[in-house]
């Protein structure tokens, strides 16, 4: 709310938006988790979403997830593209009947007055070949801007989801740019003390872009991929779903880096994705099998 003391602050900062969502979903019965501590491409990859989507047990969780997409790096030169960004992830199983209402309320909680804005649910069927996951839902538009991915999972780790969970993935940078009216992601106000997104992330975007595209050692990556795969399979034999799944995540990240380095040929690509999917499937199967 606008105050006279601080003219600049007629909108929420990045960290306030995050905190607002944490508070909101906490109030609505979610387990508030912290980000997963290994590199992932999206909030969906967190085992709190993937593995917990499987099986009959109810589950509600929410968390921020730093997400890495090496190929999206632009050395900090593009106003809309980052190789590292934040997603706010909510997973509700089974999907509650009032989930759309809940979602709209959560927007209000972060300074988007849904009565005044044009909120739309635009068809978007989601699929992740690496995870063996698929779902139906929408991308949510606010005045023409995509701010959230809203998906009813039908399948995860190549297994049918029963009951069906719903996943809400908020693009935090986009929402924040929208709320703050910024045209460049690096101009986002991170807090109320004048710290900008650029101050925190510009250097890392530059350096990681160089790493992702130029300097990542592809031989090491390839070796690491294979080691992670072997480790995952051996852990699956011991029915250790979570450690095995960690190795699947690592394999997936190594693959993304190899992809960014442009060393994966056309025919190989599908092969790599298939191998990761197998690991995810194995992890899901063991998770289900050993669930009490």
């Amino acid at each position: 709310m606008p105050t006279k003391k601080n003219k600049k602050k007629n909108y929420l900062s990045f960290q306030e938006i995050t905190l607002g969502l944490q508070k909101f979903w906490s109030k609505h019965g979610c387990v508030i988790l912290q980000p997963y501590d290994t590199e992932v491409g999206a909030g969906t990859f967190h085992p709190a979403t993937t593995l917990r989507s499987l099986g009959p047990k109810p589950w509600k969780a929410a968390y921020v997830q730093p997400s890495r997409r090496p190929t999206d790096g632009r050395y900090g030169e593009n106003p809309n593209r980052l190789q590292h960004y934040y997603q706010y992830q909510v997973i509700l199983k089974p999907s509650p009947d009032n989930v759309k209402q809940l979602y709209l309320k959560s927007l209000n909680a972060i300074g988007i007055d849904v009565k005044k804005h044009d909120i739309r649910f635009i068809e978007d069927d989601w699929e992740s070949p690496t995870l063996g996951a698929a779902g139906l839902g929408w991308e949510v538009w606010c005045d023409g801007m995509e701010i959230t991915q809203f998906t009813y999972f039908q399948q995860m780790a190549s297994l049918e989801c029963k009951p069906v969970p719903v996943e809400l993935t908020y693009g935090l940078e986009r929402i924040c740019m929208f709320v703050q009216g910024k045209k460049n992601v690096f101009d986002i106000e991170w807090n109320e003390e004048g710290v900008k997104y650029k101050d925190i992330f510009f250097r890392s975007e530059k350096e990681f872009s160089a790493y992702n595209f130029e300097f990542a050692n592809t031989e090491t990556l390839l070796k690491n991929f294979e080691l992670a795969e072997i480790e995952c399979k051996s852990l699956l034999e011991k029915n250790l779903a979570l450690p095995a799944y960690d190795q699947c995540l690592k394999a997936s990240h190594f693959f993304n880096l190899l992809d960014a380095r442009g060393v994966i040929g056309v025919a190989e690509r599908t092969g790599f994705i298939g191998r990761i999917r197998e690991l995810a499937k194995g992890s899901g199967e063991v998770w289900l099998k050993t669930q009490i």
Partner: protein
């Protein structure tokens, strides 16, 4: 008035699914009402993203079913059959009686007259329909086992002011209508359709798609009139937008003029495809920096307008960034990047494809006499925009961007055009590539796709064609026909197969040449049907199509169709028919080889001479065969055949002479069949 209506209230169903289901709902309810003898006046069907509504007016209350006599099994059949008959007609043994008819003695039953209540039948009908909708895509949610396009939340069912109560899956039908607008949730018990309509309208929910569409169109027209814009809009987009809003409000917006520097296709694609906005064009049809947005509510204080404008500017600034970067990236130097893009898993990369296209088009350029150098360059760069950032962002602009890059880098205009136009035709009503360099690349690109997929046995089936090979084939044929490309495809196909082999593609099908020719013949039927060629002419021409020149095949159809009901056609047919009637089903040893020594009458000799003359004309290797002239020369045989049959008795006592006459007539028929297989024409055999 008696009425009945149902509303299926769900979360937002995508426009295509929604439109399909609305139509299906209406069709099926109409058919089932008729099947069940329920008389009605009219059916209305409506839909919005969240509502699917069917409204039937003038429904009768009761349905009288008169008594009927039903024939059963023959007397003497085993008990089981008889019981089945009784069970399926819901009758008891007492109702049976026997009766003799001309096929023997049978069991019969006579059903009693009945009166059914429409109400009960309506529930049955509704449940039947909604439990078996043909969703193109459907889902489950929560703990439920129900399948729907998006979660179904509530069913409202009313019949003659009363709640029509039934269960469907986990839901029980209600008499309450629901409004959910933003955070506001309201429900209201409704008695009838009028009530329902009023409640929704009062809350600015327009469930009637036609009403929404009219509202949008009217406002767009107003904007065009007052701003002097060209009043032409994309109808598909109007339909889509109509079905993603419930309370349409058209807003007029603008973006910074500086973005008009980038190719208009990019801007149009951004607006239409990505944002579902309507670009505005001035009266010279030039893109302006104004556009319209259809919002789902009125815009207070320009909040929605500002937001949408910012989104467009962000997207256009991205596009401009990519445009500036991509247009200066040397297309030739980028070719190696195409190695990273798969064409299809077993068929190598796009780079491999362009290498094949270069060789194929080079070969073609010799055949049809066009500039070899240009066509080779065009083939090489035809796909190079696929590795640009812009096409990555806007896949629908493939080719179009390549053309701009090529022009920006000083490539010849014909070459640049080929980069965009070789993808033509796109869609059924689309034009084909018209310039030599463009149509050459277009032709070999489509052929290469067909050959490739046939080689690895990825062929379309009767119901499935995921790789759209039918479309490629039709595009290929239309390109050949409209540009009059006189070429036998067999040689090109075989060269194409060789090129795949050189690239170490694993050949899984050894009959590709024949299969593709056959595939193309099946496809050309559709093209000919669209040209209103008579079905028997199409069959007759395809049945005698012995080579792989599809332009000739097409021309013969056009000529034959033109003359079939005129004197020329009638004479040809009459001539052929007389010969065919005698020799059509003759023995195998009659193969059309008469011996001139055995001719006894002038009529035989004259006919033979004429046939020889025609055959010479047929076999002449000429680039533009004049099929009209050929057909006329066939028709000229009429006089000769007439006098032949008047004067010559085929059934001569001397068997050698008789056979020789049959041979002559056979030769005559064979000669005609070179043109088209006349025996397949209506009225010949």
């Amino acid at each position: 008035m008696n009425e009945f209506f149902v509303e299926l209230y769900s979360e937002e169903i995508p426009p295509n699914l929604q439109i399909n289901v609305r139509k299906e709902f209406e069709d099926r309810i109409r058919n089932l009402l008729i099947d069940e003898n329920i008389k009605f006046k009219k059916i209305f069907s409506y839909s919005s993203p969240t509502r699917l509504v069917i409204h039937v007016i003038g429904v009768v209350d009761k349905i009288k079913i008169s008594s009927k006599v039903i024939k059963g099994p023959k007397v003497g059949v085993i008990e089981d059959i008889l019981n089945n008959f009784l069970r399926s007609n819901n009758a008891s043994k007492k109702a049976l009686f026997k009766k003799k008819i001309d096929k023997g003695e049978f069991y019969f039953i006579k059903t009693l007259p009945k009166e059914l209540f429409a109400k009960d039948l309506l529930i049955k009908i509704i449940l039947n329909i909604i439990s078996s909708f043909k969703w193109k895509k459907s889902m489950k949610w929560s703990n439920h086992s129900m399948i729907w396009g998006r979660p179904l939340r509530s069913i409202l069912a009313i019949y003659n002011n009363n709640h029509l109560s039934f269960n469907f899956g986990h839901l029980r039908s209600t008499e309450n209508a629901i409004i959910e607008k933003d955070l506001l949730v309201k429900t209201k018990k409704v008695k009838n359709f009028k009530d329902y309509e009023n409640f929704l309208k009062k809350n600015n929910v327009f469930f009637n798609q036609k009403e929404r569409e009219q509202k949008i169109i009217k406002k767009l027209e107003q904007i065009c009139k007052s701003g002097n814009y060209n009043n032409v809009f994309n109808n598909r987009l109007i339909e889509e937008v109509t079905n993603i809003v419930e309370d349409p409000n058209v807003l007029l917006l603008e973006f910074d003029k500086k973005y008009l520097e980038i190719p208009p296709e990019i801007i149009i694609s951004t607006l239409e495809l990505h944002q579902k906005y309507f670009p505005l064009f001035d009266n010279k049809n030039k893109l302006t920096n104004n556009f319209c947005v259809v919002a789902n509510k009125p815009d207070t204080n320009n909040i929605i307008k500002d937001g949408n404008q910012r989104v467009v500017e962000a997207r256009l600034s991205d596009a401009k960034f990519f445009w500036n970067k991509d247009k200066s990236r040397n297309l030739i130097k980028q070719l190696a990047n195409l190695k990273k893009i798969t064409f299809y898993e077993k068929l190598g990369s796009i780079y491999d494809k362009t290498q094949r296209l270069r060789k194929l088009s080079s070969w073609l350029s010799d055949e049809i006499n066009i500039n070899k150098e240009k066509v080779e360059i065009a083939a090489s760069i035809s796909k190079s925009d696929l590795c640009s950032d812009l096409v990555n962002e806007y896949p629908e602009l493939q080719g179009k961007m390549g053309k701009y890059f090529a022009l920006a880098q000083g490539f010849d205009e014909e070459v640049a055009n080929a980069v965009s136009d070789h993808y033509l035709p796109i869609g059924n009503a689309s034009i084909v590539a018209k310039k030599p360099i463009s149509y050459s690349i277009s032709l070999v690109d489509k052929l290469d796709t067909l050959v490739g997929f046939f080689l690895i046995n990825q062929k379309p089936t009767s119901s499935k064609d995921p790789l759209a090979l039918r479309r490629s084939a039709i595009g290929l044929l239309k390109t050949i026909i409209e540009n009059k490309i006189n070429i036998k495809l067999s040689d090109l196909i075989n060269y194409n197969i060789k090129l795949f082999q050189e690239q170490k593609v694993n050949i899984e099908n050894i009959d590709v040449e024949n299969e593709i020719i056959k595939f193309l013949r099946d496809r050309i039927k559709n093209i000919l049907k669209e040209k209103n060629i008579k079905g028997d002419i199409i069959d007759a021409s395809i049945s005698s199509h012995a080579n792989s020149n599809f332009l000739d095949l097409y021309k013969k159809n056009i000529i034959m169709n033109k003359y079939i009901n005129k004197d020329i056609g009638k004479n040809v047919l009459s001539s052929y028919k007389r010969a065919f009637n005698i020799v059509g089903k003759s023995a195998d040893n009659i193969d059309g080889n008469p011996d001139a020594v055995l001719f006894r009458q002038d009529e035989e000799k004259n006919l033979f001479e004429k046939i020889k003359e025609i055959r010479k004309n047929i076999t002449i290797k000429e680039n533009n065969k004049d099929f009209e002239k050929l057909l006329i020369s066939l028709s000229e045989t009429r006089l000769l055949t007439d006098s032949f049959f008047d004067k010559v008795k085929v059934n001569d006592e001397n068997i050698d002479i008789k056979n020789n006459r049959l041979q002559l007539l056979k030769l005559f028929c064979n000669t005609f069949n070179n043109f088209i297989n006349f025996s397949k024409l209506e009225g010949v055999s």
